[in-house]
Amino acid sequence: MSHSKAATIFNKDEKKVNWHDKALWFVRHKRDKSAHSVEGWEELRNLGQGIKAHMLSNLDNYLIQFEENALKNGVQVHWAQDGDEHNRIVHSILQEHNAKKVVKSKSMLTEECHLNPFLEADGIEVIDTDLGERIVQLAKEPPSHIVLPAIHKTKEDVDELFQEHLGTKPCDGDPQYLTGEARKHLREKFVSADAAITGVNFAIADTGGFVVCTNEGNADMGAHLAPVHIACMGVEKIIPKQEHLGVFLRLLGRSATGQHITTYSSHFKKPRNGAKMHIVIVDNGRTKQLSRPDFRASLQCIRCGACMNTCPIYRRSGGHSYDATIPGPIGSILSPGKDLKKHSSLPFASTLCGSCSDVCPVKIDIHAQLYKWRQIITKETEQPFVKKASMKMMGDMFAKPTKFEKVGKMARWSLRNLPKGVINSKPNVWGKERDLPTGPKESFDDWYKKRKKDE
């Protein structure tokens, strides 16, 4: 299904869409407030961009250095070329430790690889422990946002889900009560887990360590209690030195939720006594994206979600309408690189307003890349007849000033004189759900010429 069709379904519940829109705009506003309180914020973004761009230009060497140090730290390192190999590696580690119960903290990579169904097929219980992720797991849905996985759910939805699955009492969606019940339910899972899986926010080449950021403490509860910790990371998570965390941890929380730092920024290096630690380094299309000069900067992403919170399309269409692991503007430039045909409508799910690029903490030129993907998609995938024909007509009109003036005159007259029923009729998609402005008497060109004459 194309993004616009899926978005139409999301928009059927107007009240919910309005809430979704406002809630995310509020998060964007918190981001502004906290970013503006930092002296030198733009320099911080420049550093974030520069360090990541440098990392990509030397990625093979940094990965080798990271592996060498991680091995010295007593950590086992595995490499996976694609999602399937990643899943098989994780499965074999679990088998080796006879692990049947797994707790997992947020990891978009394991979502991307569809790890949960793979493990569940072999009878392994996988519990997502981030509250938002647990909510969508119980609802059998994918996350709709990378930082706020259950942002599309109302508190009443959660109330019902918890009654059904956790046996909670009806509470009119009281977040305090529901969170407390989730804490109890997941505490049991943490204490009885045979293995913990986490993602990686940053992997440090010069120490072989890695950092995982959470607000809930679920990654730590999992990793410090279970006898085995498996951390899964994409190749692009590397940063050269530990001191670079100073830059990224200042950027990440503020860009994501407006927090000055996440509650827990946990620095893992060696397994604790008696426990085992594994790292799985995954490609799954990333090296291919690295080969595309126009799109490789998308690999600088630190997964803060700021581009989603600010995007006028995302806020009004919801994460699920993108039908991709990573939704929103950043997802729309990452996904076509994986499957151009499946994700061909995503780069068009944008007004190209550029707000995503403005808030990106590592200065990815997201809106420029959306535009560039459109050029490729239009050439390589079949476009609907109406779109092709109208683009051709428009191109012709814009190329000829006299034709443009004639059409403009007609349009201005029509907007002034035609009845509303005609202006807002079905074929005019611009008149859907909105009133068009009254057509002005003169064109800009007329106005400008008159003004010149009066000078």
Binding site: L63, T179, I261
Partner: protein, 195 residues
Amino acid sequence: MSSRDAILSKIKDNKPDLLELPTINVDVFSDSRNVEDEFILKVEVAGGQVLKAASNDAVLDQINTMFPDSKVKYSTLENTADFNTVDFDAIKSPKELEDLDVLILESEIGVAENGAVWLKDATLPMRVLPFITKHLVIVLNKENLVPFMHQAYGKLIGEDHDFGVFLAGPSKTADIEQSLVIGAHGALSLTLFLK
């Protein structure tokens, strides 16, 4: 070819020409804020509270008043053996710490810009402690406050930690309709004592 070599060779073929690694000039970030005031403010923003104490005894007195009903307690402060009820030699698995009510730790780095404090596993009998405890108390010397994360990492250069965490406030979540709830999986409260 192994997957490792295949990935590395693809990167080698596909990566752009080497770009320079930027250097961090900390001066561009300096502002006129008072480090102690800013730290207190940011801990409160993160959901914690900051109290003053002149000595470890004063810390214990206040904690005993704050949590009078607590049964399972542990402190890593010097000369606080009377406070402790946990015998780590007898504990076989970190899971046995589930009932820990109050934990008191010391930190050697506090960051003013975000209220985070550094905890390292060399000072923790078990890594899970600061996460599994119901109430977390951290004692920090004023002289150990730094303005930004950059200086905090500056202090960590040359130190070797098997595990460490920058911790800001109690655990929290806003995953249900963006309503902030303090106490997700980790500590339900955080109290910081500035010495």
